[in-house]
């Protein structure tokens, strides 16, 4: 791991989230995010990315339970915190941005009052000070005429503007860790590019630790230092972005990469890669590889416990196959 770094801002070990006795949505997730670093969680819908993020914040929906060896944030284990202590941390040291900018602002309040509220709650300031701070941050996230926007309601803003407001709101209290759950998925590509650039700049300037959840490998390549590829609640491959992209090893990662058209390389009419089937629902106590039903290389051995293998200096994956390219598709 990143031993040269000092203590990571966030370190999760063996996180599990279960919905009753029927489904285990996250199965032994471990990851670390360092100061000023971006860690991307990537995977298709339903593989447990968002649930992992919510479980960090202890905001799981009803009926879900979490357990972990530790969830350490700045040296403090979040598992031991009371609801009140956790609420004090949320929005202050740990901030979160949601996927859907059209619904993540409350339609009943002006943007200014929503932003100010976060600051007042955590910093016990007056409304005027909080509004000044909101004004400053709106300008920071590239909104022209922040004074006017502060007095507007969410329905008066475009999707891109709303997401900028959400980012500004998340930064109100100078968080150490920013969790962004598919922050640009609902936006069109030009706005998406602007926002990603903005996030990157802010992260470097403020030294944020960024946990970015996405299903878009293009975003990973562009933003991340490290990447965890998730499948069915497990990290099936993780490492530095350069190593994982240079030598994707897990069949699922390879499948994902094959789904992306590359201009100039992919010819018109040539079928894109696809992974047949959907992410299965996995009950607690499941043994073996969760991907085996969709994998081209699956053998009966895949139903046994799968080893975590190294594939480079800072790159590991969860599969029985060796890291070299020599593999034979099962019949």
């Amino acid at each position: 791991m990143t031993s040269s770094m000092t203590e990571p801002v966030l370190s999760i070990a063996n996180l599990r989230v279960a919905f009753g006795a029927r489904t285990e949505a996250v199965r032994g997730l471990s990851l670390t995010v360092g100061r000023g670093k971006t860690h991307c969680m990537v995977g298709e819908s339903g593989c447990g990315k968002s649930i992992s993020a919510l479980s960090l914040m202890n905001l799981l929906p009803r009926g879900a339970t979490r357990s972990a060896d530790h969830i350490r944030f700045q040296g403090q284990d979040l598992l031991g915190l009371s609801d009140r202590e956790m609420a004090r941390l949320r929005g202050d040291k740990i901030a979160m941005i949601f996927q859907e900018p059209m619904t993540s602002l409350n339609p009943a309040y002006t943007t200014g009052s929503q932003m100010a509220e976060v600051f007042e709650r955590h910093r016990r300031t007056t409304r005027r000070q909080a509004m000044d701070r909101a004004d400053e941050l709106l300008a920071r996230v590239g909104i022209t005429a922040p004074g006017m926007r502060l007095g507007q309601y969410p329905h008066q803003l475009s999707g891109g503007l709303r997401q900028r407001v959400m980012i500004a709101m998340a930064l109100m209290c100078d968080p150490e860790l920013l969790i962004a759950d598919e922050p640009t998925t609902a936006l069109d590509v030009t706005v998406q590019a602007q926002l990603l650039r903005l996030l990157q700049t802010l992260q470097q300037e403020l030294g944020l630790a960024l946990l970015l959840i996405t299903h878009d490998l293009g975003i990973v390549a562009r933003m991340a230092h490290r990447v965890s590829v998730m499948y069915a609640g497990q990290v099936v491959e993780s490492g530095t972005v350069s190593e994982v992209f240079a030598a994707p090893t897990h069949p699922y990662t390879r499948g994902l990469m094959a789904c992306i058209p590359v201009p100039g390389t992919t010819r018109t009419g040539e079928p894109l890669g696809s992974i047949p089937g959907v992410v299965p629902r996995i009950p607690p106590g499941f043994v073996g590889c969760g991907f085996r039903d969709r994998c081209d290389f699956a053998t009966p051995d895949c139903a046994q416990t799968v080893p975590l293998r190294g594939a480079g200096s800072d790159h590991s994956y969860l599969c029985r196959l060796p890291p070299d390219g020599t593999r034979v598709a099962a019949a």
Partner: protein, 292 residues
């Protein structure tokens, strides 16, 4: 980017249907007038509504023969000025309407939001309470309670308040359920908001417009129920001038002086109609707004 003119057009769109809707305007006028009359009743009455004068019994109102200019709407069987009693009756009706809605709203909205937001066992309990309430025959229970405890304005308001919360609860619960999965609720929690804050400041303002419509319906119902209770002699105790009581007292004279029963009857009809028109109008306006 969105231009500066956007807010103005939005506001205009919201205001126009109300003005276009003559019925809504009429309803608003009636309810507004009733409110003003109720508040300023002591300054509006031409006579003391409780002062009896047996020499001036059953004087007809101004449009009939034998009327007296001093008593525009005539007098009742005890010679009390009918207009003054009608004005004070507005006060009783509006007081009962408003206070009952506040009491039942508090109960219903609290239960509805809790059930809708938390779901599971909490919701089961709330649904059970709503079902229980719906299986209670309103007027019978109200009659029994008032008969047992004795009739007074407070008892009537409390009884109706404790009985009329079901629609508030149903609407609050359903609308809260639609909201609770929206991102801004999660976003507020992710920003460190307490539970009370989420329920009161994030959920409540966004379902308030539905609840306003319910409030108008319940207010009309409460006023009618009070009139019914008073008519049966178990509502507001005499000599307090309630419209229901006026109708009850007038029923013995209705064959010879039909206006004694007509006047409070028409007043009741107009007020309830006004409240319902206002409620319908609000629903249309807010419905149009929700569709945008």
């Amino acid at each position: 980017m969105t231009s500066m003119s956007v807010p103005q057009t939005m506001r205009a769109e919201r205001r126009l249907p109300a003005l276009r809707h003559l019925a809504t305007l009429l309803g608003a006028l009636i309810v507004g007038a009733a409110l003003l009359i109720a508040i300023f009743a002591p300054y509006l009455v031409p006579h003391d509504p409780f002062a009896q004068d047996l020499n001036l019994r059953l004087i007809p109102p101004f449009w009939m023969d034998g009327s007296q200019p001093m008593h525009l709407l005539g007098t009742d069987q005890l010679g009390r000025d009918y207009l003054s009693r009608l004005i004070y009756g507005t006060r009783v009706s509006m007081l009962i309407g408003v206070l009952t809605v506040i009491a039942s709203g508090l109960i219903g909205i609290t239960l509805g939001i809790l059930g809708g937001f938390y779901g599971g066992r909490t919701d089961d309990l709330v649904m059970f309470l709503i079902t229980c309430r719906l299986s209670i025959p309103l007027i019978l229970v109200a009659l029994t309670v008032v008969a047992l405890v004795g009739s007074s304005l407070t008892v009537v308001i409390l009884t109706l308040g404790l009985l009329l919360w079901d629609r508030f609860a149903v609407v609050a619960r359903a609308t809260t359920m639609q909201l609770r999965s929206l991102d801004y609720i999660a976003a507020a929690q992710a920003a460190g908001a307490s539970r009370a804050h989420v329920l009161l400041r994030e959920v409540l303002p966004n379902i308030a417009h539905h609840l306003v419509v319910v409030a108008t319906l319940e207010m009309a119902l409460a006023i009618l129920l009070e009139a019914a209770l008073s008519f049966l002699g178990l509502g507001v105790p005499p000599p307090l001038p309630s419209w229901g009581l006026m109708i009850a007292e007038a029923k013995e004279y209705m064959f010879f002086s039909p206006w004694v029963i007509m006047i409070p009857g028409v007043a009741l009809f107009v007020l309830v109609l006004g409240i319902n028109l206002l409620g319908d109008g609000l629903r249309d306006m807010l419905g149009a707004e929700l569709q945008r």
